[in-house]
């Protein structure tokens, strides 16, 4: 029937291995914190990265224009019946890698006309979230849909619906599970001030990633393997999608909270004292960014491996859902020594976290309403109300639901 994500997930902890946090650049509500890759840092005398830095993984963008994509998730052709993911997909990523550590073939050489089919004026038809493409020599390539990979995993959480046919569940829930499942997000270009902040942002020579904060709430983390890739994809953040919460923050708080790391001038006698003070200020900024991104870093996540490719693994992750704290889903590529090569995250809005939390609790209770209600410390009628509020009322039989709601109102 359908495919459920994170059935075979393993626990992990997110970290920024191989990356260093640099001082932030703020404009309006948007605070952008550059992430610098340590192996490019020593060699960067300015523009180019060091000659000996590995170039065995590179990522470039493919533009799909302003179009909606219909992505076939199974093995069928996209135009045939089957499970589909439908979304606005303005761009994809082309990942090139070599298994032996040699540099990948020149980017752009084989980015000619794509073989991906396009039907009609507005709709792209695509095969799978991650699709192999012809490589060159030692270089292998695949195309992936950034962030949609993670979002698809999120939507497909507990997608099969009840495992045990409890009598309360409707025929639809039992036959089709959660299908169709949908979530809403807003495009980066709709966040007031983001475009200006990205335009005036000064990209560091060794920068490979960025942490984006809106009104000091972590909106996303974006990391790429190589500084050149980042420079090309910096503007693509405008085409990514963000939770509605962040749009509200950007409108309500047009200026990020004032943050300043002052220098302590007392006791500065020599230049060396001053140099030490400046180093302390830099450390303060690093600590500040770490505090602000605590909702993503060092959080326990469930990781699902999507693909292995030479020394790299492509994975997507969901957090352990908790309505009381911020939750980020995302996807990442990790080298076998643990270095983070690629990361893209999406901050779930409150309602999305609550939905996922509810499903998780139901699934943990084997979809038994009474057990789930106990785990959630509420009554069964209250659980019914919560299901309706979360948009999952269709899972229960209408008569059962009505009785529960009547009981809840009493």
């Amino acid at each position: 029937m359908s495919r459920e994500a994170f059935r075979h997930a393993s626990p992990a902890v997110l970290d920024f291995q191989g990356l260093r946090i640099a001082p932030p650049q703020t404009l309006g509500a948007v605070r952008l914190v550059p992430l610098v890759r340590e192996r490019f840092l020593a060699a960067s005398g300015g523009e180019a990265a060091g000659p000996d830095a590995p170039r065995d993984l590179r990522i470039a963008a493919r533009d799909y224009g302003d179009s909606v994509a219909v992505v076939e998730l199974g093995r069928n052709a996209p135009s045939e019946p089957g499970l589909k993911y439908v979304s606005f997909v303005p761009h994809g990523l082309i990942v090139s890698y070599t298994g032996d550590g040699s540099p990948v073939a020149a980017l752009g050489a084989s980015f000619g006309p794509t073989s991906e089919t396009r039907k009609g004026r507005f709709v792209h038809l695509m095969h799978r979230m991650v699709k192999q493409e012809p490589g060159e020599g030692a270089t292998s390539r695949f195309r992936m849909l950034p962030l949609h990979l993670a979002m698809e995993g999120f939507l497909a959480l507990h997608f099969n619906g009840p495992d045990i046919v409890w009598s309360e569940y409707s025929q639809q829930a039992i036959r089709k599970g959660l299908d169709p499942r949908s979530e809403r997000a807003v495009r980066g270009a709709w966040l007031p001030g983001l475009e200006e902040a990205l335009r005036t942002f000064e990209i560091l020579p060794a920068q490979v990633g960025v942490l984006m904060f809106i009104a000091d709430a972590l909106a996303c983390a974006f990391v790429l393997p190589h500084p050149d890739d980042y420079r090309r994809l910096h503007g693509s953040l405008l085409d990514d999608f963000f939770g509605e919460l962040l749009r509200d923050y950007a409108i309500l708080y047009p200026h990020a909270p004032a943050a300043h790391a002052p220098i302590d001038g007392a006791g500065v006698k020599t230049l060396d004292d001053l140099v030490r003070q400046v180093a302390r200020v830099r450390a303060d900024w690093r600590a500040y960014a770490e505090v602000l991104s605590a909702g993503l870093l060092d959080r326990a996540v469930k990781v699902e491996q999507v693909r292995t490719m030479g020394p790299f693994r492509l994975e997507r992750f969901v957090p352990v859902f908790d309505p009381d704290v911020e939750c980020h889903i995302g996807e990442r590529m990790v080298r076998d020594d643990g270095t983070l090569e690629y990361l893209k995250t999406y901050r779930l809005s409150g309602a999305q976290v609550r939905r996922a939390y509810l499903l998780e609790q139901l699934a943990a209770a084997q979809w038994n309403l009474a057990q789930a209600a106990e785990a959630l410390r509420c009554t069964v009628p209250q659980l019914g109300q919560r299901l309706v509020n979360a948009g999952f009322g269709f899972l229960l039989k209408p008569a059962v639901l009505e009785a529960l709601l009547r009981a809840a109102r009493r």
């Binding site: 005398g45 560091l204 400046v278 200020v281």
Partner: protein, 473 residues
């Protein structure tokens, strides 16, 4: 003991002078042209309303043409408010300032006066005198004929000689005795005559005769001015195969630096010797003109991404930084440049990376200079806002000599060039060769000088500004 009023007046005046060097109403990297216009317009209205005599004297400070034109326009438009004892000085300043403006800017100003219906006796007298005394009157009458006519009619200037038939009948006169007018008339019928006209006029008429671009450019070349030649480097290279020559010695260091930075890196590297020599020669001339003398100077120069400027002011900050480096080297006993992102070859600099002013500042202090010049747009972000604090602490503990932050970028939110912090004086600057002026004003901003001292300094500048006229007359 200075009163609060005097202190406020001094600060207002310095803010205004500083803004008048940097602000042009054009879009900058961080702010758009609309905000710029509002911000600088407010400053003008404020200073005009509160310190009218000082406002007029600012004309003598060497501020940029845009703000000179603004000041002239506003002073002429509010002549009734001038105090009788300042009337003579203001009139002299106004006339001298108009006379020193570039003709195209002066003509635009005159047309603006007509459009704004500024039509009092003093305005008419100044416009008449200006148009009467014009050295190349015939050339202007052709080159700026619409504005010339509007201004002359507005000032009730009689169209004497053939000006009358030129402006009233247009070029449809039978024949002119003035050679340039006759060429202009014939150029409407004969292609050969367009090459006797100034380039900008000939260009429109060449289109009328459908002259191929390469033929036109080849034949008009002798009539191009030096700046037109500079501007048409790429055009002529595309059309003719070789770019027209220009005289780099007649360009200011900043303009030359803008040109150098517009070239691709490979070409800069290939023409390294030639470009460096041109920049050095230009800087040496500018130093001779300004009589600048420095000791051991460290230049901390911003080459961050924001120095790429806007589409209206492309690489302006970077060009000023590069020109400052050459200018100071020509004027100083010893000079060293510290770029925000170290560059092996100064000529190859590009706008790249974040604004880390702290590291080059600390390196500069370690070099033990007598003077530190910081050229930056004031947006230091690695770490944010630390450069100003470091400078304040270093100045306080005697680790750093007198430091001046010069900033060619107008920030509409700060009502002037964005300062680095309270510890270091910030002055607006237009070109690198304004550096001595900026240092003089920066010393006032730094040392807590009184309004009287500032007024005296302004008085000296006014005397020099007006004295040059009398010597020339």
């Amino acid at each position: 003991m200075t009163t609060a009023h005097e202190r406020v007046a001094r600060e207002d005046l310095l803010t205004f002078v500083s803004a008048c060097f940097a602000g042009t109403g054009q879009r900058e990297f961080y702010s758009d042209s609309r905000g710029q216009g509002i911000s600088i317009g407010f400053l003008h209205e404020y200073v005009l309303g509160n310190y009218r005599s000082l406002y007029a004297r600012v004309l003598a400070c060497g501020i940029n043409d845009y703000n000179q034109a603004e000041i002239i326009f506003r002073l002429l438009g509010s002549g009734r408010r001038v105090a009788p004892e300042h009337r003579a000085e203001e009139g002299a300043l106004l006339y001298r300032a108009i006379e020193r403006l570039q003709p195209q800017r002066a003509m635009r100003l005159l047309a603006r006066l007509a459009e704004g219906r500024v039509n009092n006796r003093r305005t008419r007298a100044i416009v008449r005198r200006y148009l009467d005394n014009a050295r190349d009157r015939e050339l202007w009458a052709i080159k700026y004929r619409r504005r010339f006519r509007v201004a002359a009619a507005h000032a009730h200037l009689p169209f004497d000689g053939e000006l009358g038939s030129l402006f009233v009948k247009g070029w449809r006169e039978k024949a002119y005795t003035t050679p340039l007018f006759e060429s202009f008339r014939r150029a409407h019928f004969a292609e050969s005559a367009i090459y006797e006209l100034p380039y900008s006029i000939a260009e429109g008429l060449a289109r009328k005769h459908a002259v191929p671009r390469d033929v036109f450019l080849r034949k008009i070349e002798p009539r191009m001015t030096n700046l037109e030649r500079l501007r048409l480097q790429d055009t002529t290279r595309d059309a003719l195969g070789t770019a027209v020559g220009f005289d780099p010695r007649r360009l200011s260091p900043t303009r030359l630096a803008t040109y150098v930075l517009s070239l691709p890196g490979a070409e800069r590297a290939a023409r390294r010797g030639e470009l460096t020599a041109a920049l050095e020669a230009s800087a040496a001339r500018a130093v001779r003109r300004t009589n600048a003398r420095f000791g051991r100077v460290a230049c901390v120069l911003d080459r961050s991404w924001s120095s790429s400027g806007s589409s209206e002011k492309r690489r302006r900050l970077l060009a000023v930084a590069l020109a400052t480096s050459f200018f100071v080297r020509a004027a100083a006993a010893e000079q060293r440049a510290f770029w925000t992102c170290p560059t092996p070859d100064e000529l190859l600099v590009d706008a790249v990376g974040q604004t880390d002013l702290v590291t080059p500042l600390l390196e500069a202090m370690a070099w033990k200079p007598d003077l530190v010049i910081v050229v930056s747009d004031g947006f230091d972000n690695d770490p944010p806002g630390t450069a100003g604090e470091v400078l304040a602490i270093a100045r306080g503990s005697g680790l750093c000599p007198f430091t001046l932050h010069v900033n060619p970028v107008f920030d509409d939110v700060s009502l002037g060039p964005k300062p680095l912090g309270p510890g270091v004086p910030t002055m607006g600057i237009r070109d690198a060769e304004d550096l001595p002026t900026a240092i003089a004003f920066g010393a006032f901003a730094n040392g807590g000088a009184t309004l009287a001292e500032l007024d005296a300094a302004l008085g000296a500048r006014v005397a020099h500004f007006l004295g040059a006229t009398e010597a020339a007359a």
